[in-house]
């Protein structure tokens, strides 16, 4: 370190920050998951289906609130296989993380893929949601993807 440079200890405390998040689309999705269903929101003007559903359509700039069930089957649009965490520490097992376009939905949703060797995963591969044994209405209900 150069003689002119010094280090001082500082803090960056954001503990007083709160977030308020949109609840309608997320609540609709979680309620559906209790029944093993995926419910998004459809724009009544342009037909775009979002999951989880937002309160407005980004294309039309209008408020939307029409429930739309989407399939729990879909197609891998892209994927990555993680061998390390973001700081470079190796994972115990490689983790396959695809982004899936579920049938009838315009949004893509990321998750974990199991039941297939990393070298056999490919873009365009058909997969389906493996639901958790006990559905509780939480994001963990959609446990992981498996090959269709």
């Amino acid at each position: 370190m150069m003689e002119e440079t010094r280090e001082v200890q500082g803090t960056w405390d954001l503990s007083t920050l709160k977030f308020r998040i949109e609840g309608v689309g997320l609540r609709r999705m979680l309620d559906g998951m209790k029944e093993g269903k995926l419910i998004g929101t459809k724009c009544h003007k342009c037909g775009t289906v979002y999951l989880p559903g937002p309160f407005n359509c980004r294309k039309c700039h209008i408020a939307i609130n029409e429930p739309a069930e989407v399939s729990d089957h879909g197609e891998i649009m892209t994927f990555t296989i993680g061998y390390a965490d973001v700081r470079g520490n190796p994972l115990e097992e490689p983790r396959v993380a695809p982004v899936v376009k579920l049938d009838g939905c315009d949004s893509w949703i990321m998750g974990v893929l199991q039941g297939v060797k990393p070298e056999d995963v490919h873009v365009g591969m058909r997969v389906k949601v493996q639901w958790a044994e006990n559905l509780t209405g939480s994001l963990q209900d959609m446990a992981y993807y498996v090959p269709e």
Partner: protein, 381 residues
């Protein structure tokens, strides 16, 4: 200014707790503005989002606000300062000739979701001011207040009079967050002491809110509204960062920004030619301090001016007829709200707070500790 830029419409909101998400606030205000003007998002040439990453809890926070202000897949840029800076940016984009319309979308939620003082705390010098823990936004404002009062030999009663005038104006303004009908200088003087000489009611209240404003070129303005308000001049100035290198008894940033804006507008005697002013005084002492610095009030005569009612809604040169930031300070939006309130006055639509003569007005915005930066606009019909 040679080319003309008009303010053609706006929507604003402020409350102690707006009770919705920032995304929905952004959407509701822009959707409402588009409906007012009979336009859709495709009619907007460029959008300037003005918000504070620190308060939004996400860096580059415009990335999640884009869809809500109609800027999805469109020309959009960001200002991380007061909304009046965003207004200057948007006006310059129209003056470039590239755009016929520009939307300024500003919001800040410090009433319900983050401490309003936090982001200023983290503008402090990390090697001295932060570890010492002596300086914060309120303490700095108090230092400025004391310096200003001492410079002119004013009593602390001036602060009570300023605050009582502003809070009474705010009570009559449906767009304000802090509304205390019947407030008196005695009640202000009895409020809790924060940092001497500043009491609770001398300071802005934590506020949620936002303001969306559409600008248009001269050609487009006539199509969009019947009563365009014109930008006659604008100016900006930035003082030293370090408080110890500034004269806190006055505001160089305000005086220089105002001088530039007035020169552009062809105004030689602000006190004589400006009909009224909306000033971003976050603390009571800042209103006369900036008014003196900007040439709206004779230096050293502030107590006389307030006592004579010169700054009242029906006074010689009304200041903050809206109630000003003591009635609400949604960070990032405050200066833009001053502009919106000015437009209401210039259009004769300010209701019970309407001033009698409203042809030319001065609008002031600020950023940083003790208004390190000032932005001034001169607006007219």
């Amino acid at each position: 200014m040679d080319n003309k830029v008009a303010i053609v419409g706006f929507r604003m909101a402020a409350a102690p707790d707006i009770e919705i998400t920032r995304e929905r606030l952004a959407f509701n205000l822009t959707r409402g503005l588009f409906d007012d003007l009979g336009i859709e998002r495709d009619d907007v040439g460029t959008t300037i989002i003005c918000s504070n990453d620190f308060l939004d809890g996400r860096t580059i926070s415009n990335v999640f606000l884009d869809p809500h202000v109609g800027a999805y897949m469109k020309d959009e840029s960001k200002v991380e300062m007061d909304g009046l800076n965003a207004l200057a940016y948007a006006a310059m984009r129209i003056l470039s000739g590239q755009y016929e319309t520009a939307l300024v979308a500003s919001l800040g939620l410090t009433g319900s979701q983050a401490s309003p003082y936090l982001h200023i705390e983290y503008t402090m010098d990390a090697s001295y001011d932060r570890p010492m823990k002596l300086l914060n936004e309120l303490a700095a404002a108090a230092l400025q207040a004391k310096s200003y009062l001492a410079e002119h030999g004013y009593s602390e009663g001036l602060l009570d009079e300023v605050a009582a005038k502003d809070l009474a104006n705010a009570a009559g303004n449906p767009n304000q967050a802090r509304r205390m009908p019947g407030i008196t200088a005695e009640q202000v003087a009895a409020s809790a002491m924060y940092y001497e000489p500043l009491r609770e009611l001398h300071c802005y209240p934590p506020t949620d809110g936002g303001c969306m404003m559409l600008l248009a070129s001269e050609k487009k303005a006539g199509e969009l509204c019947d009563k365009p308000v014109w930008i006659l001049g604008m100016g900006r100035s930035t003082d030293n960062y370090y408080l110890g290198d500034r004269d806190l008894a006055t505001s160089l940033s305000a005086s220089q920004a105002a001088a530039k804006a007035c020169e552009a507008a062809g105004i030689k005697d602000p006190a004589g030619e400006i009909d009224f002013a909306e000033i971003s005084s976050l603390f009571a002492h800042q209103e006369p301090l900036f008014a003196e610095a900007m040439g709206l009030m004779e230096s050293g005569k502030a107590p006389d001016a307030y006592r004579a009612g010169d700054t009242a809604i029906n006074g010689r040169l009304p200041i903050n007829p809206s109630g000003g930031p003591l009635g609400g300070h949604p960070i990032s939006s405050t200066g833009l709200i001053r502009a919106a309130e000015t437009v209401l006055q210039l259009r004769g639509e300010a209701g019970e707070n309407q001033v009698t003569k409203a042809d030319v007005a001065l609008v002031h915005g600020q950023d940083g500790l003790c208004a390190q930066q000032s932005v001034v606009f001169v607006l007219g019909t």
